[in-house]
Structures are given as structure tokens and as C-alpha cells.
């Protein structure tokens, strides 16, 4: 079994040889029972770049994110984070890689027994033990201010709206200053104004922190607003990858159909 130092060394070597992709997915396949969800997809994301993964419901977009962060194991194919293949890593070794990744779940997945403040403090309490309480409190307040939630520190997740929960989830995802941000349907279920606010927030954070981001969404307007590139999934395959103009100019029937109904 590789030690955490060995993993870090390999990461360094991979970066030295000039691998620009922070996230590299290759030939990823995943099935649940007899249902094939991902059919050998490949994509990569560089530092400072945002890729929006689009597609109809049930096409494996969320599964793709869960595979990238290691919450699911692929049937075949590889996921490389900073050049390090995450296959076969033990939970604690994977933890070292996850410290550099922020994940916003579709329903925020805030800890319902903790306050908003405690939710954001959770990763810091576990991984920044050298931080004093006052430093940690300052950091949590700073993160919540960044997402416009500074006035809700003592509230429980059940006492705030879905949009606010997503903001808190975003603050929690940013707590460890990740260089990879994975967002699962950040605007799903929100009203148009809240959606636009979340989009602006993601764009602002992206510009400030220069992370490699993957945003899973079925909202084309949101994807157009925040992403540098788009990848359209259908039946487990990437139908097309490119910028918004490339999608608009595509002759592929599914792409035209998708754009028409978005």
C-alpha cells in the first residue's frame, strides 16, 4: 500500500512532467446492476478552467462527479487527480487527495445536527488542527460572508431555504481552499433569481480562486454563464465537448434537440 508521502511525491512528479490536466478522466465505465450508466467517457479539466457537464436526467452526470471524488468505484477506466490515479487508494489515502477537492452536493447535504457555522467549521476542525479557535471562527465567518450568509451563523440547516443551504454547502466546500471544485446541480430546484445569484457566486469564486471546476447541470443558461467548456452526455457517452458556440454550430441531432428544448 502506498503511503501518503509517496502519493504526494507522485503528484509532484506528474505536475513536473507538465501534465496540465488537474482532473483527467479516461475510458470511465460504470454500471449499476444491468444498467450501464457511463459508457467509457473521457474528459479533462485544467487549472482555472470550468467544465459544465450537461445532459438529460439519469444520464450519469452526478455519478461522474461521485466517481471523480471516489464515492463510487468505476467498473473500468481511470480518474487521475493531479496525475495520481485514485483507483485502489485506501480511504485515508483518498482523504489526502480529497482535502484538495471541494464538493457541493445536489441537496447541499449539510449536517442537520450542526448549525450553519459548525457545518462550515467541520472540515477545518478535522484538518486544520493547528488553527486556533479564533482563527477558525474568523475563517468560517469570512467564508460565510463570501457566499452572503454571514447573518445566519447560528441557524440550523432546516431553518434556511434551499438556496441558502447551497450557499452554505459552497462555503463548506471552499473551507480547505481546494484547487478542484465539483458542483452537482448548484441551481437545481431554485427560483430564477436565486439561480442567477448562485451562478454569479460560482463565477466570482472561480475568478478569485482559479480552481479546476466541474459543474453538473441540466440548466444550459447556467452552464453558459459559468463554464469555459461544455460536455454533453447522452446514454453514458460524451456526445460533444467544446465551447457554447461549438455546441450551437453542431450538426449532431441530439445536440440540436437538447439546445432547442433548453
Amino acid at each position: 500500500m502506498e503511503t501518503i508521502d509517496q502519493i504526494a511525491m507522485k503528484q509532484g512528479e506528474a505536475e513536473e512532467v507538465g501534465s496540465a490536466a488537474v482532473i483527467a478522466v479516461e475510458g470511465l465505465r460504470k454500471s449499476f446492476g444491468t444498467q450501464r450508466v457511463l459508457n467509457g467517457i473521457s474528459l479533462s479539466v485544467k487549472r482555472g478552467e470550468t467544465l459544465a457537464v450537461l445532459g438529460r436526467s439519469g444520464t450519469g452526470k452526478s455519478v461522474l462527479l461521485r466517481l471523480i471524488i471516489g464515492l463510487e468505484k468505476p467498473d473500468s477506466g481511470s480518474v487521475r487527480i493531479h496525475g495520481q490515479d485514485i483507483a485502489g487508494l485506501a480511504l485515508d489515502q483518498m482523504g489526502e487527495i480529497r482535502k484538495k477537492m471541494g464538493f457541493l452536493f445536489q441537496h447541499a447535504a449539510l449536517y442537520d445536527s450542526l448549525t450553519v457555522e459548525q457545518n462550515v467549521a467541520f472540515p477545518l476542525q478535522h484538518h486544520k488542527k493547528e488553527m486556533s479557535k479564533s482563527e477558525r471562527d474568523d475563517r468560517v465567518r469570512g467564508l460565510l460572508a463570501e457566499v452572503g450568509m454571514e447573518g445566519n451563523l447560528a441557524k440550523m440547516p432546516s431553518d434556511i431555504s434551499g438556496g441558502m443551504q447551497k450557499r452554505v454547502g459552497l462555503a463548506r466546500a471552499l473551507a480547505l481552499e481546494p484547487d478542484i471544485l465539483l458542483l452537482d446541480e448548484p441551481t437545481a430546484g431554485l427560483d430564477p433569481i436565486s439561480s442567477a445569484e448562485i451562478d454569479d457566486l460560482v463565477l466570482k469564486l472561480q475568478q478569485e480562486h482559479h480552481m479546476a471546476s466541474i459543474v453538473v447541470t441540466h440548466d444550459l443558461h447556467s452552464a453558459k454563464a459559468i463554464a469555459d467548456r461544455l460536455a454533453l452526455l447522452n446514454e453514458g457517452d460524451v456526445v460533444i465537448q467544446g465551447n457554447f458556440e461549438e455546441l450551437q454550430n453542431s450538426d449532431i441531432e441530439f445536440v440540436r434537440e437538447f439546445l432547442k428544448h433548453s
Partner: protein, 282 residues
């Protein structure tokens, strides 16, 4: 499943027995539950190994452990003490009736004391805790699982086996003997009260007479065997909770199965442990 009548000539079909009466179908029909049980046991073993591995490697989750010690220990204390007290009263009344009938009334304090510290106190504690704590842990972790909170813990680079399972299982292991002491004590006190109501007897006399001829081997092994009950309750409840699927119904199933399975395995383990105690502490 192959129906032999389908491939037989028409005139043979009436002669051949129906598929349900064939031995092969009987074997196949019991194969499902058996393989499911073996699969469950295998998964439980893997889960246990992951918890042990997480528990013995740093960072240690002391804060969560202390929280669980309070949650499992302090908050179960009133219930366990009440159950112990009720058991002590019932034992006193029943033993009095039986021993008087057989002319052995003088053995009444010893019968109550030995019965409580040997078996009744530990098993009552095990069953009460498996009901209260087993259901609580099963439902809490299942709810966290279906709302992706456990995934969120893992995505935050925190090992959920260490944070959620190891702390709860360890708290169950550590608190069960202490709760057993509480059940024993309240059982003895109320056993004496039930005795003293009928026939005046000081608590000092009751205890002296009850513990006459008893030594630590009568007291320590039955008390410490409840650490195994704690392991069973914590392990099964965490396992059932963390493998839940299927929304609110899944949470309900996890809570129910945690209580049913942990109670069942506590009783089965007690059979084995009593035999072992009798062998090693005759």
C-alpha cells in the same frame, strides 16, 4: 428454475410430480435466504474490519467519542435503572413464592443477588440498550446516509468509519458494563425493598446474606461479558444504518432491523458467553 414437465412428452407430463414437490426446487427455495444471510454476514465482517482499521489509526475522534459516551451511557441510565428495579421486584416476589414452597426461604437473598448479578442484570441491560441505542444509532446513521451526509463527511476527507462507527461502537463497549452495574444496583435495592415490605429485613442483612459465599468471579465475568453485548449492539446498528438505501422507508427498516438483529444476537451471544464463563470460572 427448470420445469421438467415442460420438456417431457405430453403423456409423461401427468406422471411427473409438480415442480414444487421436487427436491431441487426445495433446495433452490432455501438457497436464497441462506445466501442472503451469508452475504450479510460477509459484509458485516468487512465492515467490522474497516471500523477496526479506522479505530486504531490516528487521528482519533475523542470529542465525538465523549459525546457518544454521554449519549449512550448517561441517557440510557434512567431506563436501565428502571428496568433493573422492576426486574429486582419481580425476582423477589417470584423467588419468595418458589423458595417458600420448597422450604428454602432462607436462601432468598442469595437467590436474588446471584440471579441479578449473574444473568438478569446483564441481559436486561443488553436488551434495553439494544432497544434504545440500537434504534437510535440505526435511524440516525440511516437518515445521514439517505440525505448524503455520510458522503459529505467522506468528501470532506474525514473517515466515516472512524468518526461515526468506531466512536459509537467503542462507546457501547465501554458503557454497557457501567450500565449493568446500575441495573444490578437498582435491582438489588428494589429486590430488598420488595422483600422488606413482606418481612422486615435490613439492607445490610440482605446484602451480607446474599453475597455470602460469593467472590469476584461471580461478579466480574458476567459484568464484563456485556462488553460483547455492546460490541454487537454498536456494530449491528452502525452497519444497518450505514448500508441503508431507499429514503424514509429505508430509515425505518434500518431502525427496526438494528433492534431486532442486535437483540437476537445479544441473546445468542449470551448463550455462548454463559457457557464460557462456566468453563473458565467454575
Amino acid at each position: 428454475m427448470i420445469d421438467r414437465r415442460l420438456s417431457a412428452p405430453p403423456d409423461m407430463a401427468a406422471v411427473l410430480p409438480a415442480p414444487s414437490t421436487l427436491p431441487v426446487s426445495s433446495v433452490l427455495s432455501i438457497k436464497g435466504p441462506i445466501s442472503q444471510f451469508l452475504e450479510w454476514f460477509g459484509d458485516l465482517g468487512i465492515f467490522f474490519w474497516q471500523v477496526v482499521r479506522a479505530a486504531v489509526t490516528p487521528p482519533f475522534e475523542f470529542r465525538e467519542l465523549f459525546r457518544q459516551l454521554d449519549e449512550i451511557g448517561s441517557k440510557s441510565l434512567p431506563l436501565v435503572a428502571l428496568a433493573g428495579a422492576a426486574t429486582g421486584i419481580v425476582l423477589s416476589m417470584e423467588a419468595r413464592y418458589s423458595l417458600t414452597r420448597f422450604g428454602a426461604k432462607s436462601l432468598l437473598p442469595a437467590a436474588i443477588v446471584f440471579s441479578i448479578i449473574h444473568e438478569t442484570g446483564p441481559i436486561i441491560t443488553g436488551l434495553v440498550v439494544s432497544g434504545r441505542v440500537g434504534a437510535g444509532i440505526g435511524a440516525e446513521l440511516a437518515s445521514m446516509k439517505v440525505t448524503e451526509q455520510i458522503d459529505a463527511i467522506e468528501a470532506s476527507a474525514v473517515n466515516p468509519y472512524r468518526l461515526l462507527a468506531a466512536t459509537r461502537i467503542l462507546a457501547c463497549i465501554l458503557m454497557l458494563p457501567l450500565l449493568t452495574l446500575a441495573a444490578d444496583l437498582s435491582g438489588l435495592v428494589m429486590g430488598w425493598v420488595a422483600q422488606a415490605v413482606v418481612e422486615p429485613l435490613s439492607f445490610h442483612q440482605f446484602i451480607n446474606s446474599g453475597f455470602k459465599g460469593a467472590d469476584f468471579s461471580d461478579f466480574l465475568p458476567p459484568t464484563f461479558k456485556t462488553m460483547v453485548f455492546g460490541l454487537i449492539i454498536g456494530l449491528i446498528a452502525c452497519f444497518q444504518g450505514m448500508r441503508t438505501q431507499g429514503g424514509a422507508a429505508g430509515v425505518g427498516r434500518a431502525a427496526t432491523s438494528s433492534v431486532v438483529l442486535s437483540s437476537l444476537f445479544v441473546i445468542l451471544a449470551d448463550v455462548v458467553l454463559v457457557k464460557l464463563i462456566l468453563i473458565f470460572f467454575p
